[in-house]
């Protein structure tokens, strides 16, 4: 991995994997800066929508964030404690998206 890229582990679970080719775990590489700013979680969400998402984007993204009802963990911590979309990604970060909208 070159020094100008971030290697991230991304996981989809709780049924979200169905939108991502039925595959749960991905390793993705993003530039350290996006639109002249340090790459953050919002950039990752939009990148995932444009690059990995296979179907029904409205079930993953709403405006520039995840659809309400999708939980996000940054390195095993609720993203609400990490600044949500503004969280600046670091090399090696693990981001997990969990749908709460499936089944009971």
């Amino acid at each position: 991995m070159s020094s100008d890229a971030l290697a991230l582990k991304v996981e989809f679970t709780g049924g979200l994997e169905l939108l991502f080719d039925n595959k749960k775990k991905y390793t993705v590489s993003l530039p350290r800066t996006t639109d002249d700013a340090p790459t953050n979680l919002t950039h990752l969400i939009l990148w995932l929508k444009d690059n990995l998402l296979k179907e029904r984007p409205e079930l993953f993204v709403e405006e520039r964030t995840v659809r309400p009802g999708i939980l996000v963990l940054v390195n095993e911590t609720d993203w609400e404690l990490e600044g949500e979309g503004d969280y600046q990604l670091k090399d090696g970060d693990e981001i997990i998206f969990i749908s709460t909208l499936h089944g009971g």
């Binding site: 679970t13 939980l71 969280y87 089944g103």
Partner: protein, 355 residues
């Protein structure tokens, strides 16, 4: 951002922001407060008494999987003295329920709880696959919902249990309040926020997760690494509920207390006496003995429609079908076995096999 310390123990790093309180707490404190709040709900509402036989309605999904785990944990920790069972309904949906039942079977072993599975096929003679083949995808949720409710009661009667607990959480209840308001369903609006429902002829049912947020249930399952199944039903989901859910989730994103606030609103509604007088009294179904507000219960009406090949009519115009049918069915028609409760009599269950 620097790591934040837990608002409760002040030592460990916070990992979750609680939607109910906004508190930022660590993993161990989260497990403790989540479990303690469910315990407090159970105690405050006096849901159980020692020696009760309690069936956990288990679908293999997140809510019922967490419920089974927490019920077992609390029963051991606080010595409730309950005999717990897992009760699953097999709707007969290939590629969905068959997979989720595998999860329940693993839970049976993981939690050491006896399991009873009752299928629509054995009870009604129809799987949901067969129902959908006749009525299509539009109205099949009506069949499934009516059939499941009665199947749970009948499974519970077969187990000889006193009580069924289900995994309905605060989000589910708030969603139901909204739906009942939008449909003008006054009778259900009054009932849907009750933590425990019981009428003379049905088995007591309760919702220990009434005040538990879905976010916390999912986080609990995640951090405890619980084994649950999370695929959408392959038949069209209930579109009306879907809209209510999306609306509720948007409200929650703007203000997390919205969920509990809506439940409180639902609880605070009082149905005026003149409205109550207009509601139908409960009786028992003349055909199958199950509780009903008409001569024929909803399940018998729907089943008769299916048997006559008029399944869709049963949903759209059940009154017409009812007035056409006598309470005695044709001999050739499949009917539901008569409903009888035999308290204490246990049916054969699959004992958990050692892991």
């Amino acid at each position: 951002m620097p790591p934040k310390p837990c608002a409760l123990c002040h030592t460990e790093r916070a990992i979750i922001k609680r939607p109910k309180t906004g508190q930022q707490i660590c993993k161990d404190c989260f497990f403790r407060v989540f479990e303690t709040e469910v315990h407090n709900t159970i105690v405050d509402s006096k849901l159980f008494k020692p020696g009760d036989r309690v069936a956990i309605g288990a679908s293999g999904g997140k809510d019922s999987t967490v419920l089974a785990y927490v019920m077992k944990t609390l029963n051991d920790r606080y010595d409730y003295g309950l005999e717990l069972f897992l009760l699953s309904i097999d709707e007969g949906i290939t590629g969905y329920r068959d997979d989720s039942l595998e999860t329940v079977k693993r839970n049976q072993v993981q939690y050491g709880l006896p399991l009873k599975i009752l299928s629509y096929d054995e009870l009604y003679g129809w799987t949901m696959d067969a129902v959908v083949a006749q009525v299509g995808r539009k109205n099949n949720c009506t069949f499934c919902g009516v059939f499941r409710r009665q199947a749970l009661d009948r499974g519970a009667a077969a187990l000889g249990v006193d009580h069924i607990v289900t995994g309905h959480n605060a989000d589910d209840i708030a969603e139901t309040v909204l739906m009942n308001i939008m449909r003008g369903d006054i009778a259900r609006l009054g009932r849907c926020t009750l933590i425990c429902t019981q009428s003379e002829d049905t088995i007591k049912r309760s919702k220990p997760f009434k005040y538990a947020y879905e976010k916390e249930i999912v986080m609990y399952a995640y951090f405890k690494k619980l084994d649950y199944f999370s695929t959408e039903c392959i038949y069209a989901p209930d579109a009306y509920r879907g809209h209510a859910r999306a609306f509720l989730k948007s409200l929650e994103a703007a203000r997390p207390s919205a969920i509990i606030d809506i439940i409180h609103s639902g609880e605070a509604f009082e149905v005026a006496e003149q409205v109550q007088q207009g509601m139908k009294a409960q009786q028992t179904c003349k055909r199958c003995g199950y509780i009903s507000s008409n001569d024929l219960c909803k399940a018998c009406t729907l089943l008769e429609g299916l048997e006559r090949g008029l399944g869709s009519l049963a949903v759209k115009d059940s009154k017409k079908l009812e007035s056409d049918s006598t309470t005695a069915p044709d001999a050739s028609m499949r009917t539901i076995p008569f409903f009888q409760r035999t308290p204490g009599a246990a049916a054969a269950v699959e004992e958990p096999t050692p892991a």
